[in-house]
Amino acid sequence: MRRRQFLKYGAAAASSLLLAPDALAQSLVRVSLAIEAVDAEMIDGEVVFMLLFFSAGRPRPVIRVTEGDSVQFTIANNDTRAHGFSIPGAPGATISSIPAGASRSVTFTAPRGGTYLYLDPTRAPVYRVLGLHGAFIVAPRDPTTPAGVATPFSRAAQTLSLQRLFETLGPPGRFPGRRWIPPRDRVWVFSQTDPALNRRVDANQTINLATVTANFAPRYFTLNGFSGFDAAHDANTSPSGYVGEPLVLRVLNGGLATHSPHIHGNHVMELSGTNAASAQVVRDNIVERDTWIMAPLDRKDLLLPFERPPDIPDAVYPPRQEPFPLHYPMHCHTEMSQTAGGGNYPQGLITDWTILGPNPSAGA
């Protein structure tokens, strides 16, 4: 049997894998993932059994493709249990079973541009909650509005409100600065870990799937696999930029708890969510919120406008004494999630974001 991998706390997550068609394979985008059993160290030092997707030796890869690509996922199951694979909202992206030690592939057409969750649906929700989930980001093939402004959504999915909002970003007015550009995004995958459940899976105990949710008592709350201090200092997690440089947050919840993320410093605009069939819904009524709902399996895209924090007094903006950069937290307000191991506030589901300086193009 394979010696189980020890995943030291803070082990770097795989950075985004930006995948393009392989010229030799005639437009086929190949993604190779491995399912691994690991002993993962939590932020307080406790070691917990987890199941994780890896790519090129690094956990929790973010997979990025383009709408309409022919995508082939090959999953190597290095665990001792059978697993599977699916991407809710992406038709055809399902592997019903991958026996222990085996490898299986599926080829499908990348769906409409947006934010998706890949996961193991086997023995739901157990294996997903033990860590087998991650972000699958599809770039739209036709992302611009009729006025030629880039958005995160395909033209066919855009609403008039969405087009209006993105066309407002940049020119003088409410959001002076720059247009949104596709590289300006961050992926936030929320997860929760209950070590007791993980121990039972590790010991191959029989688990009544119908009672998993009722008994789920998570002790660790992570964002891209990090929590607390480390999530606040991970460059791939924590957004930064100048005033006038809008950014899209792609937020996913792979766990069982309903989170209530709250962002300081700016309100965010909720751009999209999903319907009961897991299909992407781009909002026509785009609400500005400081707190939004992230139910289990939710996928939402939000705009962090990077506007000047609106309640800094006009007479002292830019601040004369208080220096840039300005650091603000984003954290879940259902505050049980702010703990690790039952305490250690705020080493739970939190990150920081940073305003590096005033709008460079405004000259102030």
């Binding site: 409410r174 919120r289 400081d290 707190t291 601040p319 004494q321 307000h333 049980m336 702010q338 920081d352």
Partner: protein, 339 residues
């Protein structure tokens, strides 16, 4: 005072470490940087240890902020009310241990945002400064060991009226004749056994497990909420009612009203207000439940069709199981009485 001295011992201008992020966070009592002459000042002190009688003939402890002068012993903490455009100072005395005030939804500089790891916790006194930028419904709360301090009750409403004052939700927005503030909360007696810094430095305080037994609307405990004037809305036929609804609980709050409600503002941002053409108000039909998670606010306009008593019911759902809390007892009901 030189700028450097203002920021000594705070997160500004220095590297935050694992320790100063959490267990050994910054404590300070600095002067307010970029200080301006305020239009309105609130003097608040942290007050712990208020025992409130409960309907089951017991009591439960709450912590709160109260006015330094003219103490009210009110819970939740006093409502802070100001007008859009005003320079606001909130002068907070910590009094016991350390506390902060985060004006939730208000977006000032980090030094005035009340978060320990991005600024400092107050051990003596600090004056928070901001300029109220947008009319709407906000709240404020202590952001130290927030899991515990917010649950213990250290919060109150913060309302920004339009420049003309109360009567409209925002400038050019919907008007109202009757206003009601509903802060809907749940309380776990077991957490009353914990100290103010429980769990901060590594001990398992059980703060990941929340099992509320008391359910309240603006300080009135269910089932008294059916008659308590803090919860019950009274209006005359034809009057427009504004309800400012805050989920101050750690539950998913499922709300069902017996009358149509128009959502006109969310989280302090008017829907369809000038400069926001991508949003618009929407109607939630009578008896159709809607959900808010912790810290969300909805401003609702009600125009009941005529005299009568209309129901309002809150189901407190567990954040994981979605079961009604406390074995199905986690419900608070009240009434909207139109005469």
């Amino acid at each position: 005072m030189a700028d450097d001295n203002i920021f000594d011992g705070t997160a500004i201008g220095q590297e935050v470490t694992f320790e100063t992020f959490g267990c050994d966070v910054f404590h300070a009592n600095p002067p307010t940087p970029d200080r301006l002459t305020p239009n309105v000042t609130f003097d608040l002190g942290a007050r712990l240890g208020l025992d409130l009688p409960t309907p089951d003939f017991r009591s439960i402890e709450v912590w709160r902020f109260d006015h330094e002068q003219a103490r009210t012993n009110a819970w939740p903490s006093p409502t802070l009310r100001m007008r859009q455009g005003q320079i606001v100072h909130t002068r907070m005395k910590a009094r016991t241990n350390t506390h902060t005030i985060h004006h939730h939804g208000i977006e000032p500089t980090p030094f005035n945002d009340g978060v320990g790891h991005t600024s400092f916790e107050v051990s003596g006194e600090y004056t928070y400064q901001f300029q109220a930028g947008e009319a709407g419904t906000y709240f404020y709360h202590c952001h130290k060991n927030t899991t515990l301090h917010f649950e213990m009750g250290m919060y109150g409403f913060l309302i920004v009226d339009p420049p003309q004052g109360p009567g409209a939700v925002f400038e050019g927005g919907p008007r109202y004749d009757v206003e009601k503030l509903w802060a809907v909360d749940d309380l776990d007696p077991a957490w009353r056994e914990l100290g103010h810094d429980a769990g901060l430095c590594g001990d398992d305080a059980g703060l990941n497990l929340f099992n509320p037994k008391y359910f309240a609307i603006s300080g009135a405990f269910a089932p008294n909420t059916l008659t308590d004037p803090r919860a019950v809305v009274r209006a005359r036929a034809g009057q427009r009612i504004l309800i400012r609804l805050l989920n101050a609980s750690y539950s998913i709050l499922r709300t069902t009203l017996g009358v149509d409600a128009t959502v006109v503002s969310i989280d302090g941002r008017g829907l369809g207000r000038a400069g926001s053409p991508w949003s618009r108000p929407f109607v939630i039909p009578a008896n159709q439940p809607f959900e808010l998670t912790t810290a969300q606010r909805y401003d609702l306009i009600l125009t009941p069709p005529g005299p009568g008593t209309y129901s309002a019911r809150f189901d407190f759902l567990h954040w994981i199981t979605r079961a009604i809390q406390d074995q199905g007892r986690g419900i608070a009901a009240t009434r909207i009485i139109v005469t």
